[in-house]
Amino acid sequence: MPDRPVVSVVVASHGRALRLRWLLNALAEQRFEGDWELVVVHDYDEATTRRVIEAHPLFAARRLDHRAIEPGTGSPALQRNIGWRAAQGPWIAFTDDDCRPEANWLGELMDAVADDGQEMAVQGSTKPDPMEWGVLSAPHVRTLSIDPVGPFCQTCNMLYPRALLERLGGFDEVAVSGEDVGLSLRARAAGTRIVAAPEAVVYHAIESFTLPGILRQNLKWRHLAYLVKRHPEFRRELTLRLFWDEEHLLVIAATLGLAVARKRPAFGLLALPYVARAAARRGRRPRQRATALLEIPGQAVRQLAETVGMAIGSARHRTALL
């Protein structure tokens, strides 16, 4: 490993060995001229570790280190904390195992670091991967599109000073989800300026799910109530300081309106804002609108399920979030 890396890239990986391999390939293409290292924290078995990680050219070049944890004991927060604590660099760049950084990613992140004495963190841009755009036709997809600086500071593309992570204790390992948001909120509260590096681009996987699959995938969002309970200032980012997503407000209004519409038909109008927004989800061309309209039932089920999940989380953490 480099003796004095300028920056350490930390990746937490679980259940995506193949995508991790693709990330390693992208990191091997980095054009950053300074010394850098990569620390991967994972829970793969020995055979997969040897094949995917230790057989990679970055490992042979002594630029890649890894830490294996027991399967079933990890979480994104825990694994990232293990990673940055094992890293040597004064700057820690986070990305995820389902991402593909551009070749100038690390360089652009580091170029955004200003030597003005003020503590700072850097957020890059995240875009749905053009190599996977074909998947966007699916009704239920998971991807990310982030223009920095956003309110969430997801760790798919963030750069933090190690000293700040040490002072803040890293990621909150109690948080099941939103641990990256929580870290950025604590950083801001500590006076850290978060600056944008829009040219530091990471492409995010586009994964499609069936309706049951996306419902299972989104179950974890019920734990966001813990984040809001710990950081009530975050409510300024929420719709009406209550709804995590504006669509949750619209789908609740639509559902209530349709439920009452039998007896009071005028209440059916409450569904219009939701339908109008949902119909424009795929674009304004007639075929796109038609597809979006056909998808409304599935989308509504998903959004209602998310809302119910958040309500359950609200009860558990004794704070209102829908």
Partner: protein, 205 residues
């Protein structure tokens, strides 16, 4: 099941074998089929096409082309096509009494593995196209098909060094190179697969 020295009934799966002018890979599969027939085996090419299911015999081997439905709606929804032939190919594999299925595309291997789960033959997969980042997750189900083909087949080979090198880079797999048109080589691979299956079956009883 013929795990010993008798002729093997081998299903060679290449969905686009008979659609349009034959590709280089399809010509190699045809050469493999002829070679297997000369060695005393019973090869059958399983492919698909738009017309009704038809069976033809030429060049010493049987070609079964099963019906493929229009794929445009699936393609519009982002799926990696073809897919509509899957149920028919799966049924043909289960009913054909094959000792082994040898697939040449990820989707064919994925379908053959579906048959294997239902008691069908073991699956050999020969990758004929280099896996690259651009074509590993570009459509719905593609990654699942690729992962299944390369990681869950009973034996996997690369058609040439370019495929082998690409599989090492993008799938972290070290594959044996076996030219498709080498029937003797594949005869050994087939018997090895069948031998392992007999051992597994014996261990379970």
């Amino acid at each position: 099941m013929s795990g010993g020295g008798g002729g093997l009934a081998v299903a060679l799966l290449m969905h686009d074998f008979d659609e349009g002018p034959r590709s280089a890979s399809a010509r190699d599969v045809a050469a493999l089929a002829r070679g297997l027939a000369e060695l005393g085996h019973r090869p059958t090419v399983l492919c698909c096409g738009r017309g009704p299911t038809r069976v033809s015999v030429s060049e010493g081997f049987e070609v079964i082309s099963v019906r493929r439905l229009p794929e445009a709606p699936l393609r519009a929804r982002g799926f990696a096509v073809p897919l509509t032939q899957a149920p028919t190919v799966l049924r043909a594999l289960r009913r054909g009494g094959y000792d082994l299925a040898h697939a040449f595309t990820p989707v064919d291997a994925w379908v053959a593995q579906g048959s294997r789960r239902l008691g069908g033959p073991p699956v050999v997969f020969t990758a004929t196209q280099p896996p690259r980042r651009e074509n590993l997750a570009d459509r719905r189900l593609r990654l699942r098909q690729v992962a299944a083909a390369f990681e869950a087949s009973d034996a996997v080979t690369a058609a040439d060094e370019a495929v082998r090198d690409s599989a090492r880079e993008w799938l972290a797999l070290d594959l044996e190179v076996a030219a498709i048109s080498d029937p003797k080589r594949f005869e050994g691979i087939y018997r090895s697969c069948l031998g392992r299956r007999v051992v597994r079956a014996a261990a379970q009883t």
